[in-house]
């Protein structure tokens, strides 16, 4: 594979590119979805192809093809160069690439049981049985899905990088939907849209779906008759997976340097953060310590090198509430004058690598969910995301959760339905006054992060533990 990559890169450089790199990906995926005991969809997919990037002047040119014949490979380098060159009709300021070590290396995701070596019957049976049982227990629609990815990547650059990586990811989840009079209520496990990590079939085995079926059905039914979440300003306690999405939307996207530089402004949006305020801006309370760490074993966005060959690393993003770091690529890091953090990835051979969250997580505190509840006189505890919306500079957000519980005088009391909360990013994070500790720190994974044009779906990780936020507006209604 490296010979093919070198041909493509040499061809781009010979055409006139000042830098070029290329990736060949062999991607396998398996997805299974079930409803009420029946398998709705079983799909296996495989693709091999090359994506080559050429830097000419101020623009990247990128060309990808499924055709790996020698003639096509050489043509790919020329095409990438020509596409970049066409950009010179509307040129910008030329930029360098930040220096990174040139390495030759190999890496494979640690995993015990490759999910593609496990009989698909076992995987199908797990979903069929889980959803059948939930249906029998009274769920209106019991659903579940499993997804597995096995991706081999070969990376070569005109600077001499030669890296092979094999990334294995697994996960899934189950849900019970209950339909009442003009409304639906849902409970999901381990989180809405499933939980995903790097690793093999053992990831799914660890979920132990069988222990959660009764609870999911009972709670989704009980929500139909539960009172509405009250409107008002109260203390808000968030369970870890909801907090993970809060981190993703109001921190992770805001700290992407390509957004801050305006490269995503027309579609995904920009950021409320201004680089002039780096190391000064108060993002949240002193309990807020955010990292971006692609080295956490088992987290969804863990690898050894990003798609530019930059080593995976931990970067401090927020320290004791002060904004300290950004997510970078080699181009954006050089432009902004910061270190490249190894945070550039593409979702396949056919897409140009771009700045992507790695495992952007909130470091644990020293409390516990039980202690947080005991310390709360008047609040609402919310679990599991149901809806999410945030403005295009990542400031004004509104989240809905699947279930809420009132907290009165240190105790969980009534369940409430349709819980929502809304806020403004720095005010919200500034109100965090209690944070659960390492025992409740979970590497939540988000497998469906959309960004870029053409669109790409990213896999990101968000370690977090439950936390409390003071005086939050909750119960927004339409």
């Amino acid at each position: 594979m490296f010979d093919l990559l070198q041909q493509a890169v040499d061809s781009a450089i010979a055409s006139g590119a000042k830098y070029s790199d290329a990736r060949i990906l062999n991607s396998k995926s398996r997805s299974i979805s079930a409803r009420n005991g029946d398998i709705e969809d079983f799909n296996e997919s495989e693709s091999i192809g090359i994506g080559i990037r050429a830097l000419v002047g101020s623009s990247w040119g990128f060309y990808s093809t499924y055709d790996l014949s020698n003639a096509s490979i050489i043509n790919s380098g020329v095409k990438a160069y020509n596409i970049a060159k066409a950009s010179a009709r509307v040129p910008g300021k030329e930029f360098p690439l930040a220096d990174v070590p040139v390495v030759e290396d190999e890496y494979t995701t640690p995993h015990e049981k490759n999910p593609f070596s496990i009989s698909s019957s076992d995987q199908i049976n797990l979903l069929a049985k889980s959803t059948e049982e939930m249906k029998k227990l009274g769920s209106s629609h019991a659903s579940g899905r499993l997804d597995f990815w096995d991706t081999e990547k070969w990376f070569f650059s005109s600077q001499g990088h030669k890296i092979y990586q094999n990334i294995v990811e697994s996960g899934g989840g189950i849900s019970s939907l209950s339909i009442g009079d003009g409304e639906t209520q849902i409970r999901s496990y381990p989180q809405s849209f499933g939980e995903y990590r790097t690793g093999g079939w053992e990831v799914v085995e660890s979920f132990k779906f069988e222990n959660e079926l009764e609870r999911l059905v009972e709670e989704s039914k009980r929500l139909l008759t539960a009172p509405q979440c009250p409107e008002g300003t109260r203390d808000l306690i968030l369970e870890g997976s909801q907090l993970a999405l809060q981190i993703h939307e109001s921190v992770g996207h805001a700290i992407e340097l390509d957004r801050i530089l305006g490269w995503e402004a027309a579609y995904a949006g920009a950021s409320h953060l201004d680089l002039k305020k780096l190391n000064k801006h108060r993002y949240g309370s002193e309990l807020m310590n955010i990292i971006a760490d692609a080295t956490l074993p088992g987290a969804l966005a863990t690898f050894k090198y990003d798609d530019e060959g930059t080593p995976a690393q931990r970067v401090n993003i927020v320290e004791e509430g002060i904004w300290k770091g950004v997510l970078t690529g080699r181009d954006s890091a050089a432009i902004a004058g910061v270190s490249p953090g190894g945070m550039v990835r593409a979702d396949g051979y056919g897409r140009i690598p771009m700045v992507r969250m790695t495992n952007v997580g909130l470091l644990p505190g020293d409390s516990s969910l039980d202690e947080i509840i005991e310390a709360t006189d008047d609040g609402v505890y919310m679990e599991t995301n149901r809806s999410w919306s945030i403005d295009d500079i990542r400031l004004n957000f509104q989240f809905g959760c699947e279930a809420g519980w009132l907290v009165k005088n240190g105790k969980i009391t009534d369940m409430v339905k349709n819980p929502t909360y809304t806020g403004i990013t720095p005010n919200f994070w500034g109100s965090m006054d209690m944070l659960a500790g390492e025992d409740e720190w979970v590497f939540w994974g988000t497998p469906n992060c959309g960004k870029g044009q053409p669109g790409q779906v990213g896999h990101t990780g968000h370690p977090s533990s439950p936390a409390r936020f003071k005086n939050v507006r909750i119960g927004v209604k339409g």
């Binding site: 029946d38 499924y66 020509n82 140009i352």
Partner: protein, 441 residues
């Protein structure tokens, strides 16, 4: 075409008579030129050739998909599927495949556009807003789709599309615009840029206004987002089966000024005229004078509801997403933009919605925000630009009886939260729209 013919000819030799089999291929060249900070910064092109193989045997079904390079041979691909189908669960919902009479021949050779042609369109867009910061993209696409099945169906279709979409920004404002067409030549990027520039210029230094219920005049992108939510979650027969659709057929659910048609055969419609099963899509009256008339079906949903298939199965999704209309036209009315604004006592002009998410599927209560050009209208005149507002509003109610004051006289392809080229819509003037939060939350 050559890849398809070679693959199919060889594959047919290895399909046992005892199975039902469907083979599909999509071949595409998709190109996109992206600009930011008023210059082109990314420029990409992707060549695709993907094969989908479905085998149904003894009540079990398997679907495999691969790009053509990862298939050693058609024979080995079919052999793999034949082994795996035996391990598959029983497929109670299998609804068969279209018959040979549904074959459609729409293939045509098309040359993809050069990056220079897209760069020239981008240049014209950017140049109309000198001094403002421009960002966006210009894309061109050539897609071919081929389907064959053991019932004797053999279908093909080809489609081209081109889009330009961009914004101009200042420190305090932004304005956007969008155009889509079957051909890049039919896109006036200068006019598109001028529209975005004017919105950005006029919306500088916005003022915050209190949340609450307002009359709204919605630009095509905002209208498109409302309709695409109703299309995907409401008129999808799968949502009806699951009990989560808010649509009540044959009831006066929407204002009588609204008529919505799905018509892939209209001149210059975008996208394929056949669905994923290879059969021609039906032209449907979805809403007639405010009354829902039809749902979008796939093979499986039609079987389950014992209704006629409308052939709206999405390519690549199989049946898992249900039926989606991708050629929706909201009939224009008679009001110009100026007339709509002059009819507003106190309301808001919204150019575009952003990040809309469903809070409850049955009531279609959705939350989201405005962006890229919003203005307060007082006594029939735009008086000032306004900042970000969060709405929490039932999309069903927003188009309900009596809430649609007027429908714009001009329509165009508009972008939506679920993609471009799906909807062709005019502007709408609505009586009530519920904004639940401002800049301060």
């Amino acid at each position: 075409m050559k890849d398809w013919n070679n693959f199919l000819e060889e594959a047919k030799k290895h399909i046992p008579n005892s199975v039902e089999c469907e083979i599909k291929m999509i071949s595409a060249v998709n190109s996109l030129t992206r600009f930011a900070n008023s210059h082109i910064h990314q420029n990409v092109e992707e060549e695709v050739s993907d094969v989908y193989l479905t085998i149904h045997k003894n009540g079990k079904t398997i679907t495999l998909n691969s790009n053509i390079t990862s298939i050693d041979s058609p024979n080995s691909f079919i052999e793999k599927a034949l082994v795996q189908v035996d391990n598959s669960p029983d497929d109670q919902g299998w609804a068969g495949m279209p018959e040979s009479e549904s074959s459609f021949n729409g293939y045509k050779e098309v040359k993809s556009k050069d990056p220079e042609e897209r760069a020239d369109k981008v240049k014209k867009f950017i140049e109309v807003g000198k001094g403002f910061n421009a960002a966006g993209y210009c894309s061109t696409n050539v897609d071919h789709y081929f389907v064959w099945n053991t019932n004797g169906l053999e279908s093909s279709d080809s489609t081209t599309s081109a889009f330009i979409d961009g914004i101009f920004r200042t420190d305090t404002s932004s304005g956007s615009s969008h155009r889509g067409a079957t051909s890049l030549e039919d896109i006036d990027s200068e006019e598109t840029g001028l529209e975005a520039f004017q919105l950005s210029k006029d919306s500088q230094n916005p003022e915050d206004i209190d949340p609450g219920k307002y009359e709204v005049v919605l630009g095509p992108e905002a209208v498109s987002t409302i309709l695409v939510f109703l299309g995907v979650y409401g008129f999808n027969a799968k949502s009806k089966i699951e009990g989560t659709s808010p649509i009540q057929l044959d009831s006066q659910q929407f204002d009588e000024k609204l008529t919505l048609i799905d018509d892939p055969y209209r001149d210059k419609s975008l996208g394929f005229k056949i669905d994923a099963s290879g059969a021609p899509k039906k032209t449907l009256e979805i809403v007639k004078d405010g009354v829902p008339k039809s749902l979008f079906h796939t093979r499986r949903t039609a079987k389950e509801l014992k209704e006629e298939n409308t052939f709206h199965e999405l390519f690549g999704w199989g049946d898992s997403f249900g039926g989606i209309g991708t050629n929706l036209y909201l009939n224009p009315g008679s009001s110009t933009k100026e007339e709509m604004i002059s009819d507003v006592k106190r309301g808001i002009y919204i150019n575009e919605f952003w990040y809309c998410r469903v809070l409850d599927p049955i009531t279609q209560v959705v939350t989201g925000l405005n962006r890229n050009g919003s203005f307060l209208i007082e006594n029939g005149k735009i008086t000032k630009p306004v900042g970000r507002l969060r709405f929490t509003q039932s999309f069903i109610s927003s188009l309900g009886v009596g809430n649609v004051i007027s429908v714009g006289s001009e329509s165009r392809f508009a972008d939506s939260e679920f993609g471009e080229g799906i909807l062709n819509v005019p502007m709408l003037h609505l009586k009530d729209f519920n904004f639940t939060g401002g800049v301060s939350g």
